[in-house]
Structure formats: structure tokens, C-alpha cells
Symmetry: C2
């Protein structure tokens, strides 16, 4: 399997890329993680993670429920929300608040405090890691606020949508 070029710039996500690499790496990491942590790798969890991995388009909970119904799984809201909570807790998915939607993590293998670039047109999302993000939160909050987490969502236009708009 050919590797994608380095994701130093997360914007690869907005371009054509060998998405099988994204998919397979993530799914393997998920399997490994569950095995090592003794967590149950169930068909439902695998299925939902597959949905999220289809491309870099976030999915709403109710979209996921529709897809689960089509696949013969239960499809009432708690089903989706529970699996999503699990994936988020385990670091394999993130919630994009801007979109009320969920996306597979693309910086697996480490606890991280990601930032997201969200294309307002195609709604694809790229995850930027902390160092790339240019965020210096220590500078932001002085001595008297104890930072625990940061939610950073950058909205704009991705390269593909810029190109289309310019046409």
C-alpha cells in the first residue's frame, strides 16, 4: 500500500489522495487499540467507524442512524450516540461543533488537542495537530485560568472549493 505524502499539512485531506491509506491505517489502529486495552471490538463499533472513515466528511448522528438501519443494525438515537461517545473517548473520533457532526480522527495514536479546518462549502474537515495549529494557549490564559482543553474550529474554503469558485 502506497503511503500518502506526509500530512505535515493537513490540507492533503482536501485534495485527491489515496484514501485507502487513511482508511486502513485508522482501522488497524482501532483494532490494535481495542485489543491492547481489552475493549470490545463489536460489529456495531466497527461499522460506525467505517462510516466515519469513508471520506473526510463529518456525519451527523442521524445520518449514521440511517446508515445503520440500512445495514440491519438498531437505529434509535442512543445506539449512535453511545458508539460515538465510545469512539471519542478512545480518541478515534471527534465532534465538530460547528456542524453538529462527527469525524474520524486523523492523528491517531496519541492524546492530542486538535484543531479543525472546516470548509464551509463542501464541509470536509481536516484535522491539524497542536503544533501545526499555531495556538499558544499558555500565552492566551495567564496565571489564573487552568486550561484543560481547547476547541478550535477554523472555518473557510478548502483548495478544491476555491478552485471551483474561481472557475
Amino acid at each position: 500500500m502506497k503511503k500518502n505524502p506526509t500530512q505535515k499539512y493537513a490540507s492533503i485531506i482536501f485534495k485527491k489522495h489515496n484514501h485507502n491509506v487513511c482508511f486502513n491505517n485508522a482501522m488497524k489502529a482501532f483494532q490494535k487499540h481495542c485489543f491492547e486495552k481489552n475493549l470490545k471490538l463489536t460489529p456495531l463499533r466497527i461499522k460506525v467507524f467505517e462510516f466515519l472513515l469513508r471520506d473526510h466528511q463529518p456525519l451527523g448522528a442521524y445520518q449514521i442512524l440511517d446508515m445503520l438501519r440500512d445495514s440491519g443494525f438498531g437505529s434509535t438515537p442512543p445506539i449512535a450516540y453511545r458508539v460515538l461517545d465510545f469512539l471519542i473517548e478512545q480518541g478515534f473520533a471527534h465532534k465538530i461543533k460547528r456542524l453538529n457532526a462527527f469525524v474520524a480522527c486523523s492523528h491517531l495514536g496519541s492524546t492530542h488537542s486538535p484543531a479543525f479546518m472546516i470548509c464551509r462549502k463542501c464541509e470536509k474537515v481536516a484535522e491539524i495537530n497542536e503544533k501545526e495549529s499555531g495556538v499558544n494557549l499558555k500565552k492566551a490564559a495567564p496565571f489564573d485560568f487552568k486550561i484543560e482543553e481547547a476547541v478550535i474550529e477554523v472555518i473557510g474554503l478548502c483548495i478544491s472549493c476555491i478552485t471551483v469558485e474561481a472557475t
Copy 2:
């Protein structure tokens, strides 16, 4: 009216401060803005802005509706959402996505791209201006993503809640 110490560090908001200053400055700025832009300064708009200015605690739309009902205004959802949209458009309020709630702006008088510090315990919110925030988005997104807006919400514990917890 005594001035508050400089808001160089937004964390003043989490401490005791002369809140009349915050309130009066904001309300005056709002009146001035509406006059200059020829926008209608209606009782409803004033009332909602007053609610948001009571302290630095964000209010949910339905909380605002309850307060409007108590004040004899209409209290169906569109009433609140429309006024909030107006205040946000005019730069006098922000939505805190983390809380699904709304807060008065505390850096009036300029278009700005704020960041927020949100105390997870008391849920008070301080607004940090862009320069303070330590965010360098140009660094974050390279040549192929056109940034239009950034949503930054930092979650943690404010100085007052840290103190209480330590007790």
C-alpha cells in the same frame, strides 16, 4: 464611574470587579451603535441585551425566553433567536457553542475574532481578544485553505473555582 483595571488579561471577569462599568459601557456602546447605524433600539432588544449583561454568565435561548415572559414580552423561541441573531450580527453578543448559550461581547467597538475561556464549573465566560489568544492561524493553515473565521473555546477552571476546589 470608576474604571475597571485594564482588561489586558480577560481573567478579570472571573474575579470580583466593578460590573457596573462593564454594564454601562456596553449599553452605551450599543445605544451609540444603533443610533449611528440607524438600527432600531427597541425595548425587546434592550431587554435581552440587559439580560446578557447581568454578569458574565452565558444564557441559553430558553432561559432568555423565561426571563422575557417574566418581563411581559413575547416568549416563543423565534423571539429570542431573532434578537440574539441581531445582537450577534451587530457584534454585541457571541454564541458559546460549548454551552449552547449566548454571552455579551466584552470587546466592543471593533470587528474581532474572539476566543473564549469557559470555566467548566461556574460556566462564566471570558472573552480574549485575538492578539492575547496566542493563535496564529496563518501558521496553522497553509497556502491552500482560505480562512474566514475561527471559533476558539478554551475550557478549564477559573481562578475563583480553583480556589474553591482547593479549600
